[in-house]
Subunit: 335 residues, 2 copies
Amino acid sequence: MGGGRITIEDVAAAAGVSRQTVTRAMNGMPEISRRTRELVLRTAAELGYRPSRFASNLAARRKTRSIGLVLGSLRNPYYTELAAELLDVVAPRGWHVLMASHEQGDGVELVAALSGQADAIVGYLPGDEAALVAAARGAPLVQMETPATVPGMHAVVLDFDSAIEALLDELRHRGARRFGLIEFAGPPASAGTGRYRPTHRRRAYERFAGPDSAAAVVVAEESIRGGADGLVRLRAAHPEVDTVLVFNDLMAMGAMQQAQLDGIAVPDDLRVVGVDGLSLGAVMTPPLSTLSIDRHALAAEAADIVGTLLDGAEPPPHPSIVRTVTPRPLWRRSA
Amino acid sequence: MGGGRITIEDVAAAAGVSRQTVTRAMNGMPEISRRTRELVLRTAAELGYRPSRFASNLAARRKTRSIGLVLGSLRNPYYTELAAELLDVVAPRGWHVLMASHEQGDGVELVAALSGQADAIVGYLPGDEAALVAAARGAPLVQMETPATVPGMHAVVLDFDSAIEALLDELRHRGARRFGLIEFAGPPASAGTGRYRPTHRRRAYERFAGPDSAAAVVVAEESIRGGADGLVRLRAAHPEVDTVLVFNDLMAMGAMQQAQLDGIAVPDDLRVVGVDGLSLGAVMTPPLSTLSIDRHALAAEAADIVGTLLDGAEPPPHPSIVRTVTPRPLWRRSA
DNA sequence: AGCGTCGCCGTGAACGTTCACGGACCTCGG
DNA sequence: CCGAGGTCCGTGAACGTTCACGGCGACGCT
């Protein structure tokens, strides 16, 4: 007694019964009389007894898994739709999902915080891979979009090279002459450090958009406003651009709105293409064309990797597991 | 050996050291030589050892709290922005957030599933309140939007009565003559049961929109398509309606898109007002007017209730805790 | 009366980890 | 040569719950 937490023994003592009887009452087990159950429940409520989920899960040898999901932002529907897909995939197996976003800390911090609560961590994990693996304390890590290079880290990569090449080809067919790119500035945690690193999307763009297009790139923050702002800067520096590829749909929506404000006709004066494939893009005027990422496939592959890692044979496969998902163009009217 | 899980003792035996040394190696503690640490880490990796987070948290007497969040859908930005706010509020305190949505089961199922992993459960909890409390196994429940009526359940309610009254008044000022409502059909789990229950929003609407408006209500599902579909049905049955209130912004966006498709000018021929206050509504053409719900306040109040309940005095307050948040009109151009 | 059955309840022994303590060994100064 | 101090490592004892088992009345049947 005295000390800190109020345990099952305290309740048992107060109710004049044994541990096991308290357990039976709390968990709705059959071998208990209606009378004592209510007595126990009542005194438990009075004492404010709340069973320790750690002790409970440990003793019951429960197999319930929970997986941590690290996303860029919960204010970008792309990420949350991805979360929705993951939930759909894992919920039937009885797994839980813990969320975290880059807005709460850098990758290593998030992984460290999550590692105590989750059996595996998946998602967008920025930062040094070795440090991430160390912070995970043995929990499998599944990187989304970025390839994995160290043991203990696995990945579902996105094949932007082929997707963007095809996209740009088709855009040329449709009359595009000068491309521009509104690029992502990087996660907030890296903002202060001044450490911008070109994304996979940018590298693919620069490779396939033609030699003169490589310069027509502006870096903007990941938001509607960021997209709008990016378009203003891009047009100021490169008025000749007639087709702009935007890092993601959210930013593309901001760019489209800005174009409308500035009296630029989309797609006649300016073609706009986003990346992600948000269904919300379809309600814009004009509807937003986009390079659609199959979020269901992404989530399903990640969940599958986690499954094989956690429930598989005792020695986990040493080489990293890598799956690939290829984005596909979704032509609406903005391009 | 043999049995099931591979424990810390297995690693200790394989590495020829003791439990404690393995712990030290895994947790990066200082009192261990570089040599043995690497040895332990290596054999741990080879054996595929993954510490039990339950045992670990129990033994370490960790206070880490995690709270379960039940939402209607992760595909509706309203809910995910609410989640984002909650994350922002609780992450600094070191709390975690587990997500679940109505798409995965009914309220009682979700609460039961979450109760093993979370210390408290907040959000949109449909279903019988007594059953919910029982399923929570002593974990505090905080209902959002709906008032709480049984002990063990608390709430942050939304004052739609005053908000909708003020909204409708202002709309009349702006020329509205005949109101219509596109109403929410209820969570998917209740869909099969045919148990539609009027929402708080509908009741407030019927009370303040005038006697003839009470009939101009259509029930639709919670999605962009549902909103579009709802508008078609509403106009077919009530062509005289010149102002439509939509259950939420997502559905309102669908309704606006449908209006555009049908050649109805917004706001000249038809005023459209949503509920939620999504920032995405601002990128529509015309920008969507809405009854904005302060998601930050909602999340902060809920977190605060959980905090006082969990960390407060041993005997929790017997009467339910109730807080109130009042939605406010956000006038953009659609009305 | 004797015996099996049923309903209800209590007692050791896990579950797998960390904490507090102590001990072995080495180094170094007096 | 002895003791102080440091580095590294191992051993009981928690942590709070559930599981397996057993006990003890009451009841019904032969």
